[in-house]
Point group: C2
Chain length 691, copies 2
Amino acid sequence: MLSDRRAHLKSLAAGIGALAASWAVPAPSSGAKGPLDNADSAPRFKIEEIPLKQVVVDDKFWSPRLEVNRTKTLDHVYGELEASGCIRNFDLAARKATGRFGGPWWADSDVYKWIEGASYVLGSHPDAALERKVDDLIARIAAAQQPDGYLNTHVLIEEPDLRFRNLAFFHEDFSSGHLFEAAVAHYEATGKRGLLDVATRLADCFDATFGPGKRAGLSGHEGIELAWVRLYRATGEKRYLRLAEFYLNQRGQKPSLFEREYESLPRDRTVLWREGRPVNLRALHEHFFLARPPAFDTSYCQDNLPVREQSSAVGHAVRAMFLYCGVADVADETGDPALLAALHRLHDSVTLRRMYVTGGIGPSAKNEGFTDDYDLPNENAYQETCASAGMVLWNHRMFKLTGDGSYIDLLEQSLYNAVLAGVSLEGNTFCYATPLACDTEFKRQPWFEVPCCPTTASRFLPSLGRYVYSQSADGLWVNLYVGGELSVTLPNGAKVKVRQRTDYPWDGHVRLQVEVDQAQEFTLHVRIPGWAQASALRLNGAKLSPPVSKGYAHIHARWSRGDGVELSIPLETVKLEANPKVLQSRGKVALRRGPLIYCLEQPDNKADLDRIALPSAGGRLAEHFEAGLLGGVVIIEGEGRVRHLDGWETALYRPVRPTDGAPAAIKAIPYCVWGNRGQQKMKVWIDSVAS
Amino acid sequence: MLSDRRAHLKSLAAGIGALAASWAVPAPSSGAKGPLDNADSAPRFKIEEIPLKQVVVDDKFWSPRLEVNRTKTLDHVYGELEASGCIRNFDLAARKATGRFGGPWWADSDVYKWIEGASYVLGSHPDAALERKVDDLIARIAAAQQPDGYLNTHVLIEEPDLRFRNLAFFHEDFSSGHLFEAAVAHYEATGKRGLLDVATRLADCFDATFGPGKRAGLSGHEGIELAWVRLYRATGEKRYLRLAEFYLNQRGQKPSLFEREYESLPRDRTVLWREGRPVNLRALHEHFFLARPPAFDTSYCQDNLPVREQSSAVGHAVRAMFLYCGVADVADETGDPALLAALHRLHDSVTLRRMYVTGGIGPSAKNEGFTDDYDLPNENAYQETCASAGMVLWNHRMFKLTGDGSYIDLLEQSLYNAVLAGVSLEGNTFCYATPLACDTEFKRQPWFEVPCCPTTASRFLPSLGRYVYSQSADGLWVNLYVGGELSVTLPNGAKVKVRQRTDYPWDGHVRLQVEVDQAQEFTLHVRIPGWAQASALRLNGAKLSPPVSKGYAHIHARWSRGDGVELSIPLETVKLEANPKVLQSRGKVALRRGPLIYCLEQPDNKADLDRIALPSAGGRLAEHFEAGLLGGVVIIEGEGRVRHLDGWETALYRPVRPTDGAPAAIKAIPYCVWGNRGQQKMKVWIDSVAS
């Protein structure tokens, strides 16, 4: 008779066999061709991303934030990754140390994200000490990789028999995707192949396991899809692009792959969850997918429908962003019209019905994600920083697919508001959830049990340059007004530089200076924001009226050294109202100036924020730069009212009372610098009263 | 070896044994005394209900509705009960017919509710044909009763081995409670003991099964608790009062009684659910109590906490109302201060944070009940008619416990708005869910698969007289302004009549005429509504300023034949606003005149209702009686605006635009007569604009 332990192992092995069988995917018949088979004939890279190293950021708004990220945040995040055991996990997996796994199951992803951010920094700021730190870390990672290429420290240390068995929640694919991204970033920044070799060995381990004719693969937390495409673009290895499309195509089956996976998991297995709490292995499937048993609902991770049939943004917001980016990347490579159509439907779903005025998404803490159309609570807005960064990534891809500046408007909205609010000015505390209104209980934290948002900040900020310019066959695109310099090579081999000088977003004047050795003919596509009431262009001082379409002025010219373009966008404070279906912001206004959404924070206002109201129309509003405030910001001042709110504790309904109250000065600051003066009341949407 | 079937029965029997053991309740030790042991010393019936037969309703507002109920609704409901098999169930259970059970599992309760309503009608309108119909039905019910007193046709016909095994959902207790109520009503109206004897035999069957030292008992759908007290009051049998308190005391245990019950239910048993659909016996427990397995959450039926610890109204709204009524009745008998304190907390929870302006409750269809504080959607307001009637029952009890007229204000609010809107003017269609705003898809239905609301209407309306007056040691209480006559006997044996004449709620003048044989000294307590801006009293034409407290003018006098009191309450149209925390009604106003809440219905308004707005303050409003409209109602007319709502399809946020739009006449009708002109758009809360 077998001992219990041996019986357990035997049943596990049998389970794995059954699993492999249930997940087997038939190889495609030779006659059937997917969109990928036409990849070479599809239009590719109409608008191309410019390598990050070719863009220098140098202005008063962004440079201080990037410098804080480089000099403070990177070290802070590394220290926390060490302290929480996330880095030591690699030594444990390499059997060079002993102990228990540290951090969340997908802790590897955060280490990879740190490397990605550090690589971007190395690309623009050579730094021997940082380079050594990265190299050492890469060596420790490489040592943990298994002979067959497999690499996931949580599974290797704690649950070696469950490799690729809990795709829904172990996140081997999500973490691997971040390794692919870090590896490409590191290679591009330093030219070193060490991490890229680790990544391709791991990619090949996936490729040996998943794919047509092999096992079905699906990521419970998307992220590997876009990473497959990035790795393909860096290596030219088409198997990776095929896997990206394969992962997309597995989504939305009935029954879900995750339901089949759940059924195959041992019933009485206990695993260690966060902070070492023991949980049943099947508990997370039940929690997220079985809210109404016996119905299995995997919309939490966008597995509710095949991607080409999706129309509504559902579930976990960060997962959704990674998925949509992966869809966009595959569509960009294959031209698959069904993927493009789904992207447009999903984009409407998010931006017309499910997005905060700050460009953030995902109102609910319950699923860290989407709820219903027009449900956008301010007080408990979840608006995860990673999801806000995801909006930048997704809109950047939508722009590249379409050449439409309205996507850059949205990218800018998320970037200057929701994303930037996620990091303190000091660079060592972060928002995970990022409310649009809060009482004094809320504050940024130095670290989280799930530390994705700090590592997102550390990898996202130094990648800013990626979004500023683009290139196409006919010329250059100026997407964002960020001071600095662009260096590119034209299709004819000529070198061009574009210098940008601006005090944006405080001021709407942008000066672009073109540097060429010899005169060159090309189009300079200069973005005109959709929100701009008016704008003016000058070429070498002379008024210019070039054709404007899809949010860009297209200036075709034969450019000579020193040619200068000036763009002027008047920045005025505008009172915004939300669609009346957004109940939580009904009867309220928000202040926007240029790309910046403003908020009231208690230290700048005498009256309790809950009692302040603004006239919905009219009313004097003035702006000025306060050099000494929050690193220097343009503030908005005006006259509001202090309302009487007494008596509502004992009344649910009462006769209408006048709400105008006494006049009171109000002062608003940019939302992106909120929360840097201790725990203070804050609100974006301000109650409005009749003028 | 046992056959499968025999093995099944054996395991069932074992289960029942285990069940009985797990549910056994230790007998109280002789030293421990519950509050009930002090019942005789507690203050009782400070304010007493006046037997229904002593109150005649005779006015222009109510009499037509009661007459429609008597001549149409009663027949309509009986016909539907017959057609749906609910009545024939008793013949099946008596083995006088064959076939399958008809209606929902608790169909008996609807038959009993019809008898209760018919009995009230018989009390005021002797009718030989109706009396024969009732007597025949009672004979069929009596024939179905088992020798041990047990009576539940669903269990007897379909699941005889599951008697008292599915307390959460078979509702044997809920249905029996309605039998107790009907039996008392029938006995009081006719003096016949037939149904009362059935009721006491059934009550004794419960008493033999449940109670201290016997099995634990708890109603999955409350209703038996208040019925125990009513049966106790009618029979003087104290065991019934003890059982009422016992049922309350079983609530809120950890683990819940329903969890223990669930564990004891056979796993693979299929039973027939509504419309004969087979379901697993355990499915309803899982659906309602296991939304987040493995946590067992029984807040759906207010089993989340011991009743004395409850503070927040949760779960199914009708269940909650029945529970709170039962708590109030037991508290009235025992004076238990912990029950009284819980009632006050729960009342605040409902009326300060979870009640519609119509006095209805329970916003969500999902649980037919409460959600969160201040969550009161208008479009999909569930506001079940049974729950609205429950608000009348509960506030009546709260008034009797306290003598506080604010509870009658709330009773009146629910009665004249949410309850009355539940029945059409024709009396043959009903609301189950009763929205506060609807498009053209909504209409009243003649019947429902779960027909509780039609039977609630048929039993509630003829009981109206119960709420108009009360009596205390020192005199009489005039609670509602309903024309008709009251006949009472004073403590000294003297007979008094009070005649009330009024056109309320159209007009605020009320004339009360006292009829006595000899002059009598007592206090006439006349309610002054909390919403009245002003009021004036006259005694025999002379101005009177009696002391006013807790919503009543206390007129102490030596009353002679023909003494007349006149009350004048100016009825003005008032614009109400909701607490700003009620997001769904933010920036909107509702119109109230006297006790009536008004609404806009499309036939009275040219502009689409969605575009109509009212100035939040100022703006002319006029009222007049339209004899030809909806049976004769006072309508409200005024000047509103027609707003432009274009462009929001493609915008989630935009700069504030003026919303005043063109002037437009608006016309509002009482909410209680809404929905009598086909399927029309309607809304209670009207968007407001600056004056």
